[in-house]
Amino acid sequence: MEKSKEWPLWEVFIRSKQGLNHKHVGSLRASDSTMAIKNARDVYTRRAEGISIWVVPSNNITASDPNKEDSLFEPSQSKVYRHPTFYDVPDGISHM
């Protein structure tokens, strides 16, 4: 059989409930973004897992190079003051 043009690949991100970030759940094939959203609904929210869907053409995603991850992530790891556990909170103070 002659090979026909494949539908592009899309990455799917789902917000499972209000207040949470969209989270990557997987990918699928669709001919355009409208169809990609619809297919994402059918494929990834069959059990009402989401309230909002993002789709992104997979080839539009730029990923960091894991071989250089030392230089990419090392600086932030040394900035411990960004992490909340760096700080001592006096006893009796809650909800912080």
Partner: protein
């Protein structure tokens, strides 16, 4: 005819439309053109079977002798099914399946919208649930009609042919008789002439974008609503009823 008798007959029509179309679509599970679409069609089938379950349950309670939804779904003879001829038509190719779905969705959505105001609260409740599903079905089928109509030459020709073949079954969806008269008067169901223009407009808009032409011939086939079906119906029922007929009075 009493109001209850009329309601029973009307619920059967709606229930049978859902049941038979759901049955048709369920034949395709595992055979869709691409995995994503297989899942989408199965979703629609599941929604329709769910709607049939509720509608036939209500019908069974309104029946002259009470029946369960399963008895109604599985144990009537062909002449007692009152679905429109459109929904029993075979799946054909994907274009046929989608065209059948579109013609039906475009009618079902405005019907359900108007049933929200029904004086029969239970029916209004079923309509509310079904409407959410049907809006989505209509979006799905319209988008596909447009894609296929304005896709390749081959897809355009195929979907145009599907339209020619199926449109003549669709007018029967607006069938009315004394059942409707009585229920319309009671504010239980809307009149067909309040749905028909909306259906026509949906067709017009979608076909225009899909570059499809409405057939000039407005000849219509009908009979399903009165229990006169096409030859396809007997086979569909033989398959669907196989277990209940082969092993009577058993629970599964």
């Amino acid at each position: 005819m009493t109001e209850k008798q009329a309601l029973y007959k009307y619920l059967l029509r709606m229930g049978d439309d859902s049941l038979i179309l759901g049955q048709r679509l369920s034949e395709l599970c595992g055979h869709g053109p691409i995995l994503e679409e297989d899942i989408a069609l199965t979703n629609i089938s599941l929604d329709l079977i769910g709607q049939a379950t509720l509608l036939l349950e209500y019908a069974g309670e309104s029946a002259p002798e009470k029946k369960t939804n399963d008895e109604l779904a599985y144990l009537r003879i062909e002449k007692e099914y009152v679905n429109a001829l459109l929904v029993e038509q075979p799946n054909g190719h994907f274009g046929d399946t989608i065209m059948r779905q579109f013609l039906f969705d475009a009618y079902r959505k405005p019907l359900l919208e108007q049933l929200l105001d029904s004086t029969d609260k239970r029916l209004a409740g079923i309509a509310e649930k079904a409407l959410k599903e049907t809006k989505y079905h209509l979006r799905h089928s319209s988008e596909w009609i447009i894609r296929l109509g304005d896709g390749t030459q081959e897809s355009h020709q195929r979907i145009q042919n599907s339209l020619e073949a199926l449109l003549r079954y669709a007018y029967e969806l607006f069938f009315e008789n004394e059942v409707d008269e009585l229920l319309i008067a009671q504010g239980i169901i809307p009149a067909a002439n309040s749905i028909f223009p909306i259906w026509e407009k949906t067709l017009h808009d979608v076909f225009e974008e899909a570059t499809l032409l409405l057939p000039k011939n407005k000849w219509k086939f009908q009979g399903g609503r009165e229990g006169r079906h096409s030859e396809h119906m007997g086979y569909l029922l033989a398959e669907m009823q196989y277990m209940q007929r082969t092993y009577p009075n058993m629970e599964w």
